[in-house]
């Protein structure tokens, strides 16, 4: 169907076309003053229309194509698709923002979300490809003998993927409301219809080819603004190499402005339950739930810095978070299934390399984005006068430019509720500590803060949308296949026809999308929190048993079930307790890294329970031998994997 050369040509032309399109809009804006609304809608219509066209072109009625794109995706393109699948609203919008906000400690995300691919490449991808079925519960079921293990795995897959997809929908609504001026709820609906057009008709096949296009858009949208920023601030257009200067300037300005918490200094984040307090309060306000609000606490108790000089904790929390993000990445079902879609084991190995390379392009740039943005704010925004502006019958505290006029972006972003300016010491001058900015806002707002043309900001919005939608697409496929394939076909009705399974899969895509939209409507802070927990849950459920399943023949089904359930239980226990009260902690490790304890429990339980129960039968041991290597030329192997044919 798709030839490698025509594919490269098609996507190459698309990339050039997209760059020209952006450039023309930029020119029109600068020369004839094209309105911001037209620019925003032009990007939206172009990108969403494109996803719809690819989705419709790739529609399919073949199960193999619906679940694993016919296993014909070349390594290079699977790498790009994996990149888009992986990089969500969190990577695109929040990650650089977290680095901006937390400095060194947030590099756990940069290292964790890339280092996991090393584990994936070395420990999982080739073996899963050799196994070659449709879902991760398929592997768990085949390796651990039966439907009980498969069922537990399918439940874990649905929990992890559903929390994750809901957060993407929140991201979509946020971007749409800020850049298109539509209400948040309508933004959610428009965004989701884009997702459905693509994944409903064509399943994994359509998702794959749309993700490749989405990767191109998101990477262009990420790198262009930071390149402009680098050029503006340092005169050198390669931000990844130039931001060393930004780091030096930040350190200098921090000393000048007497900011206690240094950007480069490690481990200066205390454990707090501020997010839990906010989340519970919000739920009580919106639903009248009347839950007990936890007392705000901080470890060590605030204020942690009596003077300038800083407080330093231990490295354990950051290292634990890095580790959990790594093993969580390697255990996420929507990433693992991408390695079912390549034609061979050889390609699966190379494909992980391409995937990480494409992800690396963004992650390698994120610290530069953060540093330039922080430099810009410390240098050009801090020290301006604070004033007020009336809008919509409300008076907003804002920042005045040097000419005395209010800066337009301050009001725009204040209205989203993600930015607050307060004149804490009442001196009428903006200090760094008086800017209350949400991490999600940094990437979106930096182009405007730095005074770049609106086209650049709209490009960033299109990129954020591509990142959120591509991830949502991949997750919907996982949820649909867990229900239609694992629960319905494998467990409930093994005689179901291919047609029935296909229809149920399509129905599940719609149901999951609608459920995610409903869950996203109240905009609960808890939802965003849940994504960071998804990594802990994946780390505590899938990673240990898939790893032991491949590398330790003695592991059996009873052990794996005990491991998954025990791992999940310990993770949730630590998570909830530490979330509500930071005094509950081991070595200062926060709830975000609770999967560390869950994964350890899972390993221990799987090993101990397997050892005290009977070893797995010979067929399963042979099955493990079989997945460990590509086909032997000298031996005629029986069909791998004990799965019935279509």
């Amino acid at each position: 169907m798709f030839q490698n050369m025509t594919l490269s040509k098609a996507y190459g032309l698309f990339t050039i076309g997209f760059l020209i399109f952006s450039f023309v809009l930029l020119l029109l804006e600068v020369t004839i003053g094209l309105s911001t609304a037209i620019i925003g809608w032009a990007f939206l219509i172009l990108t969403m229309g494109l996803y719809a066209v690819i989705g419709i072109m790739s529609r399919t009625k073949v199960l193999d194509e619906y679940y694993v794109a016919g296993r014909r995706v070349p390594a290079f393109f699977n790498g790009m698709a994996t990149g888009a699948d992986w990089m969500s609203a969190a990577s695109f919008l929040s990650m650089a923002g977290s680095v901006w906000l937390l400095g060194y400690d947030a590099l756990a995300y940069i290292m964790g979300w890339t280092g996991g691919y090393v584990l994936l490449a070395l420990l999982f991808a080739p073996y899963l490809r050799k196994f070659g079925q449709y879902t991760i519960p398929d592997f768990v079921g085949a390796r651990f003998g039966g439907n009980r293990a498969r069922g537990v795995a399918a439940v874990c897959a649905v929990i992890v993927s559903f929390t994750y997809v809901t957060a993407q929908v929140v991201g979509v609504g946020l971007i749409m409301s800020r850049f298109m001026g539509v209400p948040y709820e309508l933004g959610v609906v428009i965004g989701l219809s884009g997702v459905l057009l693509c994944s409903f008709l064509g399943g994994m096949k359509a998702v794959t080819w749309t993700q490749v296009a989405q990767y191109v858009i998101l990477i262009v949208a990420y790198i262009v603004p930071v390149t402009f920023l680098s050029l503006k601030l340092t005169g050198f257009p390669i931000p990844e190499l130039a931001y060393g200067q930004a780091l030096q300037e930040i350190t200098r300005l921090e000393k000048e402005q007497k900011i206690a918490k240094g950007y480069i200094d490690p481990y200066n984040e205390p454990l707090t339950n501020a997010s839990a307090v906010a989340a519970v309060t919000q739920i009580n306000n919106q639903f009248g739930a009347g839950w007990p609000v936890p007392t705000p606490k901080s470890v060590p108790p605030a204020p942690i810095t009596p003077g300038v000089g800083g407080w330093q904790g231990t490295p354990w929390d950051m290292m634990a978070l890095t580790f959990v993000l790594m093993i969580g990445t390697a255990g996420l079902p929507h990433i693992l299934i991408r390695f079912y879609t390549v034609p061979s084991i050889r390609e699966s190995r190379v494909s992980v390399g391409y995937a990480l390379f494409f992800i690396f392009l963004l992650y390698f740039t994120a610290p530069a984005y953060a540093a330039f943005s922080r430099w810009e704010i410390l240098q050009n925004v801090v020290g301006l006068k604070i004033g007020t502006v009336d809008d919509g019958g409300k008076t907003w505290t804002t920042v005045l430019a040097k000419d005395g006029k209010p800066l337009p972006w301050v009001l725009n972003f204040s209205k989203t509720g993600l930015l607050t300016i307060t004149d804490g010491n009442k001196d009428g001058i903006l200090q760094f500590s008086e800017i209350g900015i949400n991490a999600d806002l940094i990437v979106m707002s930096t182009p405007e803060i730095a005074g770049l043309p609106y086209t650049i900001a709209a490009l960033v919005a299109a990129g954020g949308l591509a990142a959120a939608l591509s991830t949502a697409d991949g997750l919907l496929v996982v949820i649909a296949s867990a229900v239609a394939h694992d629960f319905y076909f494998r467990i409930l009705n093994p005689k179901a026809s291919a047609q029935t399974r296909m229809n149920l899969g399509k129905a599940m895509v719609v149901v999951a999308a609608a459920a995610a939209a409903l869950a996203a409507m109240p905009r609960l802070a808890l939802i965003v929190q849940m994504v960071s927990w998804a990594f802990s849950l994946a780390a505590a459920s899938f990673f240990p048993i898939v790893l032991l399943g491949i590398f330790w023949k003695r592991a059996n089904g009873t052990g794996a079930i005990a491991g998954m359930i025990g791992g999940m239980a310990v993770t949730i226990f630590y998570m909830v307790n530490n979330y509500l009260d930071p005094n509950f902690n081991i070595l200062g490790i926060s709830h975000l890294s609770s999967g560390l304890f869950g994964a350890a429990t899972n390993f221990a339980l799987t090993i101990v329970v397997s050892l005290v129960t009977a070893p797995p039968p010979k067929e399963i041991q042979d099955f493990v031998d079989n997945v460990r290597h590509p086909r032997d030329e000298d031996v005629v192997e029986s069909k791998p994997a004990a799965a019935p044919a279509e």
């Binding site: 940069i110 420990l123 780091l247 480069i264 890095t322 190379v350 390399g353 086909r631 030329e633």
Partner: protein
């Protein structure tokens, strides 16, 4: 495939060689990701082109190593498949 390795335990030898390679690469992975955070203050006293080394290892240095590790493993294993007479044509 004239240099195909012989012997009844060919597949065992293949698996052993694979495991050995995995251990070596995982040791490097661990060293770049988890050793610098322990010595970040000491490393930060070394500044190259404006980048404090401790910070740099977290923000970019370790990432470069991760990418290289994966491509090296893919290249080495794909070569090893041939040496051991393994192929994967089955879809």
């Amino acid at each position: 495939m004239s240099d195909k390795k012989e012997g009844g335990n060919r597949l065992d030898a293949y698996w052993k060689a694979n495991l050995q390679l995995i251990w070596i690469l995982l040791a490097i992975w661990f060293a770049v990701a988890y050793v610098p955070p322990l010595f970040v203050n000491q490393l930060n006293t070394i500044v190259i082109a404006g980048f404090p080394l401790g910070y740099y290892m977290g923000s970019q240095g370790s990432l470069v190593v991760f990418v290289i590790l994966i491509f090296y493993y893919a290249w080495r294993m794909n070569k090893m498949d041939q040496e051991y007479g393994l192929r994967d044509k089955d879809k």
